[in-house]
Symmetry: C2
Protein backbone atom coordinates (compact mmCIF):
# COMPACT_ATOMS: atom_id res chain seq x y z
CA UNK A 1 0.00 0.00 0.00
CA UNK A 2 1.22 3.44 -0.93
CA UNK A 3 0.75 6.40 1.39
CA UNK A 4 -2.23 8.64 0.82
CA UNK A 5 -0.15 11.55 -0.36
CA UNK A 6 1.49 9.64 -3.22
CA UNK A 7 0.64 10.74 -6.71
CA UNK A 8 2.49 7.91 -8.37
CA UNK A 9 0.10 5.48 -9.95
CA UNK A 10 0.98 2.69 -12.32
CA UNK A 11 -1.57 2.15 -15.02
CA UNK A 12 -0.25 -0.90 -16.72
CA UNK A 13 -0.61 -3.30 -13.79
CA UNK A 14 -0.16 -3.70 -10.09
CA UNK A 15 -1.82 -0.49 -8.96
CA UNK A 16 -3.83 -0.46 -5.72
CA UNK A 17 -7.37 0.63 -6.51
CA UNK A 18 -10.22 1.26 -4.11
CA UNK A 19 -13.66 1.08 -5.69
CA UNK A 20 -16.45 2.66 -3.65
CA UNK A 21 -19.84 1.08 -4.32
CA UNK A 22 -20.95 -2.46 -5.13
CA UNK A 23 -23.57 -1.59 -7.74
CA UNK A 24 -23.41 -2.36 -11.45
CA UNK A 25 -20.82 0.36 -12.10
CA UNK A 26 -18.61 -0.56 -9.13
CA UNK A 27 -18.68 -4.23 -10.09
CA UNK A 28 -17.88 -3.57 -13.76
CA UNK A 29 -15.01 -1.23 -12.90
CA UNK A 30 -13.60 -3.62 -10.27
CA UNK A 31 -13.79 -6.61 -12.64
CA UNK A 32 -12.02 -4.69 -15.42
CA UNK A 33 -9.30 -3.40 -13.08
CA UNK A 34 -8.72 -6.93 -11.73
CA UNK A 35 -8.52 -8.24 -15.29
CA UNK A 36 -5.81 -5.62 -15.92
CA UNK A 37 -3.87 -7.04 -12.93
CA UNK A 38 -4.50 -4.21 -10.51
CA UNK A 39 -4.97 -4.96 -6.81
CA UNK A 40 -8.62 -4.04 -6.33
CA UNK A 41 -10.86 -3.92 -3.28
CA UNK A 42 -14.48 -2.84 -3.31
CA UNK A 43 -15.85 -0.78 -0.44
CA UNK A 44 -19.39 -1.11 0.88
CA UNK A 45 -21.38 0.18 3.83
CA UNK A 46 -22.01 -3.19 5.50
CA UNK A 47 -19.55 -5.92 4.54
CA UNK A 48 -21.67 -8.63 6.23
CA UNK A 49 -24.33 -8.36 3.50
CA UNK A 50 -22.08 -8.44 0.51
CA UNK A 51 -20.50 -11.40 -1.22
CA UNK A 52 -19.73 -10.91 -4.89
CA UNK A 53 -17.83 -13.62 -6.72
CA UNK A 54 -14.30 -12.64 -7.62
CA UNK A 55 -14.28 -9.35 -5.72
CA UNK A 56 -12.65 -8.48 -2.40
CA UNK A 57 -15.39 -6.70 -0.44
CA UNK A 58 -14.20 -4.44 2.39
CA UNK A 59 -15.52 -1.41 4.29
CA UNK A 60 -15.63 2.02 2.64
CA UNK A 61 -12.79 3.14 4.93
CA UNK A 62 -10.60 0.15 4.02
CA UNK A 63 -11.22 0.64 0.29
CA UNK A 64 -10.42 4.36 0.56
CA UNK A 65 -7.21 3.60 2.47
CA UNK A 66 -6.16 0.79 0.08
CA UNK A 67 -6.47 2.74 -3.13
CA UNK A 68 -3.76 4.83 -4.73
CA UNK A 69 -6.57 5.55 -7.14
CA UNK A 70 -10.21 5.71 -6.07
CA UNK A 71 -13.17 4.86 -8.28
CA UNK A 72 -16.28 6.46 -6.80
CA UNK A 73 -19.28 4.52 -8.08
CA UNK A 74 -21.77 5.34 -5.34
CA UNK A 75 -25.44 6.12 -5.62
CA UNK A 76 -25.53 9.82 -6.44
CA UNK A 77 -27.76 10.62 -3.49
CA UNK A 78 -25.43 8.93 -0.98
CA UNK A 79 -22.07 9.87 -2.47
CA UNK A 80 -21.47 13.11 -0.62
CA UNK A 81 -22.39 11.68 2.79
CA UNK A 82 -20.11 8.67 2.35
CA UNK A 83 -17.18 10.64 0.95
CA UNK A 84 -17.19 13.23 3.75
CA UNK A 85 -16.47 10.39 6.21
CA UNK A 86 -13.46 9.30 4.12
CA UNK A 87 -11.83 12.71 3.81
CA UNK A 88 -8.61 11.67 5.55
CA UNK A 89 -8.11 8.43 3.59
CA UNK A 90 -8.82 10.20 0.29
CA UNK A 91 -6.48 13.18 0.79
CA UNK A 92 -3.86 13.56 -1.95
CA UNK A 93 -5.43 10.89 -4.16
CA UNK A 94 -7.09 10.95 -7.55
CA UNK A 95 -10.79 10.12 -7.27
CA UNK A 96 -12.82 9.32 -10.36
CA UNK A 97 -16.41 10.42 -9.78
CA UNK A 98 -18.83 8.33 -11.87
CA UNK A 99 -21.94 9.13 -9.83
CA UNK A 100 -25.01 10.98 -11.09
CA UNK A 101 -27.40 12.93 -8.85
CA UNK A 102 -30.49 11.14 -10.15
CA UNK A 103 -33.67 10.98 -8.12
CA UNK A 104 -36.67 8.91 -9.27
CA UNK A 105 -38.56 9.13 -5.98
CA UNK A 106 -41.26 11.47 -7.33
CA UNK A 107 -42.00 9.10 -10.21
CA UNK A 108 -40.30 11.58 -12.55
CA UNK A 109 -36.58 11.77 -13.16
CA UNK A 110 -35.04 14.74 -11.37
CA UNK A 111 -31.44 15.76 -10.91
CA UNK A 112 -31.04 16.82 -7.28
CA UNK A 113 -28.12 19.11 -8.13
CA UNK A 114 -28.42 21.12 -11.31
CA UNK A 115 -27.87 24.32 -13.28
CA UNK A 116 -25.26 26.37 -11.38
CA UNK A 117 -23.92 23.44 -9.33
CA UNK A 118 -23.15 19.76 -9.85
CA UNK A 119 -22.37 16.69 -7.80
CA UNK A 120 -18.82 16.72 -9.18
CA UNK A 121 -18.28 20.22 -7.83
CA UNK A 122 -19.88 19.39 -4.49
CA UNK A 123 -17.54 16.41 -4.08
CA UNK A 124 -14.48 18.49 -4.99
CA UNK A 125 -15.58 21.15 -2.47
CA UNK A 126 -16.11 18.54 0.26
CA UNK A 127 -12.70 16.95 -0.43
CA UNK A 128 -10.39 19.88 -1.18
CA UNK A 129 -7.23 17.75 -0.85
CA UNK A 130 -8.51 15.08 -3.26
CA UNK A 131 -8.13 15.44 -7.01
CA UNK A 132 -11.64 14.80 -8.28
CA UNK A 133 -12.07 13.89 -11.95
CA UNK A 134 -15.57 13.44 -13.32
CA UNK A 135 -15.56 10.64 -15.89
CA UNK A 136 -17.51 7.62 -17.17
CA UNK A 137 -20.85 8.98 -15.88
CA UNK A 138 -22.34 9.46 -19.37
CA UNK A 139 -22.48 5.83 -20.49
CA UNK A 140 -23.49 2.37 -19.32
CA UNK A 141 -21.13 0.41 -17.03
CA UNK A 142 -20.40 -2.18 -19.75
CA UNK A 143 -19.44 0.58 -22.20
CA UNK A 144 -17.25 2.33 -19.59
CA UNK A 145 -14.92 -0.66 -19.34
CA UNK A 146 -15.31 -1.99 -22.90
CA UNK A 147 -15.68 0.97 -25.27
CA UNK A 148 -14.95 -1.26 -28.27
CA UNK A 149 -18.30 -2.99 -27.63
CA UNK A 150 -20.03 0.07 -29.16
CA UNK A 151 -19.24 0.99 -32.79
CA UNK A 152 -15.69 -0.32 -32.43
CA UNK A 153 -14.97 2.38 -29.83
CA UNK A 154 -15.72 5.30 -32.18
CA UNK A 155 -17.45 7.52 -29.59
CA UNK A 156 -16.48 9.84 -26.74
CA UNK A 157 -15.48 9.75 -23.11
CA UNK A 158 -15.83 13.16 -21.43
CA UNK A 159 -13.65 14.09 -18.46
CA UNK A 160 -13.59 17.17 -16.23
CA UNK A 161 -11.47 18.19 -13.26
CA UNK A 162 -9.41 21.02 -11.82
CA UNK A 163 -6.10 19.09 -11.65
CA UNK A 164 -4.41 18.58 -15.02
CA UNK A 165 -2.08 15.80 -13.82
CA UNK A 166 -5.01 13.91 -12.34
CA UNK A 167 -6.84 14.15 -15.66
CA UNK A 168 -3.76 12.84 -17.47
CA UNK A 169 -3.77 9.83 -15.11
CA UNK A 170 -7.46 9.20 -15.74
CA UNK A 171 -6.83 9.42 -19.49
CA UNK A 172 -4.10 6.77 -19.14
CA UNK A 173 -6.47 4.51 -17.24
CA UNK A 174 -9.20 5.06 -19.84
CA UNK A 175 -6.76 4.22 -22.64
CA UNK A 176 -5.90 0.98 -20.82
CA UNK A 177 -9.65 0.17 -21.04
CA UNK A 178 -9.51 0.78 -24.79
CA UNK A 179 -10.77 4.39 -24.99
CA UNK A 180 -9.58 6.18 -28.12
CA UNK A 181 -11.61 9.41 -28.04
CA UNK A 182 -11.28 11.28 -24.75
CA UNK A 183 -12.52 14.85 -24.54
CA UNK A 184 -11.35 17.08 -21.69
CA UNK A 185 -14.21 19.50 -20.99
CA UNK A 186 -12.24 21.65 -18.55
CA UNK A 187 -12.50 22.19 -14.80
CA UNK A 188 -14.75 20.26 -12.42
CA UNK A 189 -17.46 22.87 -13.15
CA UNK A 190 -17.94 21.07 -16.46
CA UNK A 191 -19.53 18.25 -14.45
CA UNK A 192 -22.72 20.29 -14.87
CA UNK A 193 -23.18 19.48 -18.54
CA UNK A 194 -21.93 15.91 -18.05
CA UNK A 195 -24.58 15.28 -15.40
CA UNK A 196 -27.37 17.13 -17.25
CA UNK A 197 -26.91 14.85 -20.26
CA UNK A 198 -28.44 11.99 -18.21
CA UNK A 199 -32.08 12.77 -19.03
CA UNK A 200 -31.49 12.39 -22.77
CA UNK A 201 -29.33 9.32 -22.09
CA UNK A 202 -32.24 7.69 -20.25
CA UNK A 203 -34.59 8.78 -23.04
CA UNK A 204 -32.33 7.21 -25.67
CA UNK A 205 -32.04 4.04 -23.55
CA UNK A 206 -35.83 3.74 -23.71
CA UNK A 207 -36.08 4.50 -27.44
CA UNK A 208 -33.17 2.27 -28.49
CA UNK A 209 -34.09 -0.57 -26.12
CA UNK A 210 -30.45 -1.04 -25.19
CA UNK A 211 -27.87 0.67 -22.98
CA UNK A 212 -25.15 -0.33 -25.40
CA UNK A 213 -24.78 3.06 -27.08
CA UNK A 214 -22.88 6.27 -26.58
CA UNK A 215 -22.50 9.87 -27.71
CA UNK A 216 -19.97 10.75 -30.37
CA UNK A 217 -19.10 14.37 -31.09
CA UNK A 218 -18.81 14.82 -34.85
CA UNK A 219 -17.28 17.90 -36.41
CA UNK B 1 -52.89 31.59 -47.58
CA UNK B 2 -54.34 28.40 -46.18
CA UNK B 3 -56.80 28.44 -43.30
CA UNK B 4 -55.47 27.85 -39.80
CA UNK B 5 -57.11 24.47 -39.52
CA UNK B 6 -55.39 22.96 -42.57
CA UNK B 7 -53.02 20.11 -41.93
CA UNK B 8 -51.92 19.82 -45.53
CA UNK B 9 -48.39 20.99 -45.96
CA UNK B 10 -46.23 20.61 -49.04
CA UNK B 11 -42.60 20.02 -48.28
CA UNK B 12 -41.10 20.11 -51.73
CA UNK B 13 -41.88 23.73 -52.55
CA UNK B 14 -44.49 26.41 -52.36
CA UNK B 15 -45.47 25.97 -48.71
CA UNK B 16 -46.41 29.03 -46.65
CA UNK B 17 -44.10 29.20 -43.65
CA UNK B 18 -44.19 31.65 -40.77
CA UNK B 19 -40.92 31.99 -38.91
CA UNK B 20 -41.18 33.61 -35.47
CA UNK B 21 -38.00 35.39 -34.45
CA UNK B 22 -35.37 37.34 -36.36
CA UNK B 23 -32.31 36.03 -34.51
CA UNK B 24 -29.60 33.81 -35.96
CA UNK B 25 -31.84 30.72 -35.93
CA UNK B 26 -34.86 32.47 -37.44
CA UNK B 27 -32.72 33.99 -40.18
CA UNK B 28 -31.00 30.69 -41.03
CA UNK B 29 -34.30 28.80 -41.15
CA UNK B 30 -36.00 31.51 -43.23
CA UNK B 31 -33.11 31.68 -45.71
CA UNK B 32 -33.09 27.89 -46.14
CA UNK B 33 -36.87 27.71 -46.59
CA UNK B 34 -36.75 30.51 -49.18
CA UNK B 35 -33.94 28.70 -50.99
CA UNK B 36 -36.24 25.64 -51.10
CA UNK B 37 -38.90 27.81 -52.79
CA UNK B 38 -41.27 28.12 -49.86
CA UNK B 39 -43.19 31.35 -49.28
CA UNK B 40 -41.61 32.59 -46.06
CA UNK B 41 -42.33 35.54 -43.83
CA UNK B 42 -40.48 36.30 -40.61
CA UNK B 43 -42.36 37.66 -37.63
CA UNK B 44 -40.92 40.18 -35.20
CA UNK B 45 -42.18 42.30 -32.32
CA UNK B 46 -41.58 45.70 -33.92
CA UNK B 47 -41.41 45.66 -37.71
CA UNK B 48 -40.16 49.30 -37.83
CA UNK B 49 -36.78 48.27 -36.43
CA UNK B 50 -36.12 45.33 -38.64
CA UNK B 51 -34.76 45.23 -42.16
CA UNK B 52 -32.96 42.03 -43.09
CA UNK B 53 -31.84 41.58 -46.67
CA UNK B 54 -33.80 38.97 -48.58
CA UNK B 55 -36.41 38.38 -45.85
CA UNK B 56 -40.00 39.59 -45.64
CA UNK B 57 -40.33 40.96 -42.12
CA UNK B 58 -43.87 41.17 -40.73
CA UNK B 59 -45.53 41.25 -37.31
CA UNK B 60 -45.69 38.11 -35.15
CA UNK B 61 -49.46 37.94 -35.80
CA UNK B 62 -49.03 38.19 -39.58
CA UNK B 63 -46.32 35.53 -39.61
CA UNK B 64 -48.45 33.20 -37.47
CA UNK B 65 -51.44 33.73 -39.78
CA UNK B 66 -49.37 33.30 -42.97
CA UNK B 67 -47.78 29.99 -42.06
CA UNK B 68 -49.21 26.56 -42.76
CA UNK B 69 -46.12 25.56 -40.86
CA UNK B 70 -44.64 27.65 -38.04
CA UNK B 71 -40.96 27.75 -37.12
CA UNK B 72 -40.67 29.10 -33.58
CA UNK B 73 -37.17 30.50 -33.19
CA UNK B 74 -37.80 32.93 -30.35
CA UNK B 75 -35.62 33.72 -27.38
CA UNK B 76 -36.48 30.98 -24.88
CA UNK B 77 -37.39 33.47 -22.18
CA UNK B 78 -39.86 35.34 -24.42
CA UNK B 79 -41.32 32.40 -26.35
CA UNK B 80 -44.23 31.56 -24.07
CA UNK B 81 -45.41 35.18 -23.74
CA UNK B 82 -45.34 35.75 -27.51
CA UNK B 83 -46.99 32.43 -28.38
CA UNK B 84 -49.90 32.90 -25.96
CA UNK B 85 -50.88 36.03 -27.93
CA UNK B 86 -50.91 34.02 -31.18
CA UNK B 87 -53.06 31.15 -29.92
CA UNK B 88 -55.83 31.72 -32.48
CA UNK B 89 -53.55 32.03 -35.52
CA UNK B 90 -51.57 28.94 -34.48
CA UNK B 91 -54.54 26.62 -33.85
CA UNK B 92 -54.46 23.44 -35.94
CA UNK B 93 -50.95 24.05 -37.23
CA UNK B 94 -47.64 22.28 -36.78
CA UNK B 95 -45.20 24.43 -34.80
CA UNK B 96 -41.52 23.52 -34.65
CA UNK B 97 -40.12 24.70 -31.32
CA UNK B 98 -36.38 25.40 -31.60
CA UNK B 99 -36.15 27.59 -28.51
CA UNK B 100 -34.11 26.82 -25.40
CA UNK B 101 -34.90 28.20 -21.92
CA UNK B 102 -31.38 29.54 -21.38
CA UNK B 103 -30.72 32.34 -18.92
CA UNK B 104 -27.27 33.91 -18.59
CA UNK B 105 -28.41 36.86 -16.46
CA UNK B 106 -26.74 35.61 -13.26
CA UNK B 107 -23.40 35.25 -15.06
CA UNK B 108 -23.85 31.46 -14.94
CA UNK B 109 -25.82 29.45 -17.46
CA UNK B 110 -29.15 28.37 -16.02
CA UNK B 111 -32.11 26.66 -17.63
CA UNK B 112 -35.23 28.44 -16.39
CA UNK B 113 -37.38 25.34 -16.93
CA UNK B 114 -35.83 22.04 -15.98
CA UNK B 115 -36.10 18.55 -14.51
CA UNK B 116 -39.83 17.66 -14.43
CA UNK B 117 -40.89 20.29 -16.97
CA UNK B 118 -39.56 21.79 -20.19
CA UNK B 119 -40.22 24.73 -22.46
CA UNK B 120 -41.51 22.36 -25.13
CA UNK B 121 -44.15 21.03 -22.73
CA UNK B 122 -45.08 24.51 -21.54
CA UNK B 123 -45.64 25.64 -25.13
CA UNK B 124 -47.76 22.56 -25.93
CA UNK B 125 -49.82 23.20 -22.78
CA UNK B 126 -50.29 26.87 -23.68
CA UNK B 127 -51.32 25.98 -27.26
CA UNK B 128 -53.41 22.81 -26.90
CA UNK B 129 -54.76 23.07 -30.48
CA UNK B 130 -51.29 23.45 -32.00
CA UNK B 131 -49.12 20.43 -32.79
CA UNK B 132 -45.82 21.29 -31.15
CA UNK B 133 -42.73 19.41 -32.28
CA UNK B 134 -39.43 20.09 -30.51
CA UNK B 135 -36.60 19.92 -33.03
CA UNK B 136 -33.33 21.56 -34.13
CA UNK B 137 -32.66 22.98 -30.62
CA UNK B 138 -29.56 20.81 -30.01
CA UNK B 139 -27.28 22.22 -32.72
CA UNK B 140 -26.09 25.47 -34.24
CA UNK B 141 -28.33 27.31 -36.74
CA UNK B 142 -25.94 26.64 -39.62
CA UNK B 143 -25.96 22.91 -38.85
CA UNK B 144 -29.77 22.86 -38.53
CA UNK B 145 -30.21 23.87 -42.17
CA UNK B 146 -27.05 22.30 -43.60
CA UNK B 147 -26.38 19.03 -41.76
CA UNK B 148 -23.92 17.94 -44.47
CA UNK B 149 -21.59 20.72 -43.29
CA UNK B 150 -20.67 18.52 -40.29
CA UNK B 151 -19.08 15.11 -40.92
CA UNK B 152 -21.01 14.73 -44.17
CA UNK B 153 -24.28 14.71 -42.21
CA UNK B 154 -23.38 11.62 -40.14
CA UNK B 155 -24.94 12.82 -36.87
CA UNK B 156 -28.38 13.08 -35.27
CA UNK B 157 -31.42 15.31 -35.25
CA UNK B 158 -33.68 14.62 -32.25
CA UNK B 159 -37.40 15.31 -32.44
CA UNK B 160 -40.17 15.05 -29.84
CA UNK B 161 -43.91 15.69 -29.91
CA UNK B 162 -47.27 14.24 -29.01
CA UNK B 163 -48.69 14.19 -32.59
CA UNK B 164 -47.26 11.46 -34.80
CA UNK B 165 -48.42 13.01 -38.09
CA UNK B 166 -46.87 16.33 -37.12
CA UNK B 167 -43.57 14.57 -36.42
CA UNK B 168 -43.74 12.85 -39.82
CA UNK B 169 -44.15 16.28 -41.42
CA UNK B 170 -41.17 17.66 -39.49
CA UNK B 171 -39.12 14.65 -40.56
CA UNK B 172 -40.00 15.37 -44.20
CA UNK B 173 -38.93 18.98 -43.79
CA UNK B 174 -35.68 17.90 -42.11
CA UNK B 175 -34.98 15.47 -44.95
CA UNK B 176 -35.47 18.32 -47.43
CA UNK B 177 -32.67 20.12 -45.51
CA UNK B 178 -30.46 17.05 -45.96
CA UNK B 179 -30.96 15.28 -42.62
CA UNK B 180 -30.29 11.55 -42.81
CA UNK B 181 -30.36 10.51 -39.15
CA UNK B 182 -33.52 11.60 -37.35
CA UNK B 183 -34.31 10.13 -33.95
CA UNK B 184 -37.84 10.36 -32.57
CA UNK B 185 -37.48 10.56 -28.78
CA UNK B 186 -41.21 10.24 -28.07
CA UNK B 187 -43.80 12.67 -26.72
CA UNK B 188 -43.25 16.36 -26.06
CA UNK B 189 -42.10 15.38 -22.54
CA UNK B 190 -38.85 14.30 -24.19
CA UNK B 191 -38.12 18.00 -24.67
CA UNK B 192 -36.64 17.76 -21.17
CA UNK B 193 -33.56 15.83 -22.21
CA UNK B 194 -33.27 17.78 -25.46
CA UNK B 195 -33.16 21.07 -23.55
CA UNK B 196 -30.91 19.78 -20.76
CA UNK B 197 -28.25 18.82 -23.31
CA UNK B 198 -27.56 22.54 -23.87
CA UNK B 199 -25.05 22.95 -21.02
CA UNK B 200 -22.73 20.29 -22.48
CA UNK B 201 -23.32 21.72 -25.96
CA UNK B 202 -22.11 25.13 -24.75
CA UNK B 203 -19.19 23.45 -22.98
CA UNK B 204 -18.21 21.63 -26.17
CA UNK B 205 -18.57 24.86 -28.16
CA UNK B 206 -15.99 26.43 -25.83
CA UNK B 207 -13.62 23.45 -25.93
CA UNK B 208 -13.82 22.88 -29.70
CA UNK B 209 -13.74 26.58 -30.56
CA UNK B 210 -16.44 26.08 -33.17
CA UNK B 211 -20.21 25.62 -33.25
CA UNK B 212 -19.86 23.44 -36.32
CA UNK B 213 -20.32 20.09 -34.53
CA UNK B 214 -23.12 17.82 -33.44
CA UNK B 215 -23.99 14.75 -31.40
CA UNK B 216 -24.12 11.35 -33.04
CA UNK B 217 -25.58 8.38 -31.22
CA UNK B 218 -23.40 5.35 -31.89
CA UNK B 219 -24.49 1.83 -31.07
Amino acid sequence: MVSGSSNLVRYNRGMNVGVLGTGVVGQAQAAKLSELDHDVVVGTRDTKDKKIKGLKIVSFAEAAAHGELIIEALNGNAALTVLKLLKKQLAGKVLIDISNPLDFSSGELRLTVINDDSLGEQIQKALPKTKVVKAFNTMNASVQVDPASVAGGDHHLFIAGDDKKAKTEVEKLAKSYGWKNIMDLGGIKSSRGMEMILPIWLNLFGVLGTANFNFKITK
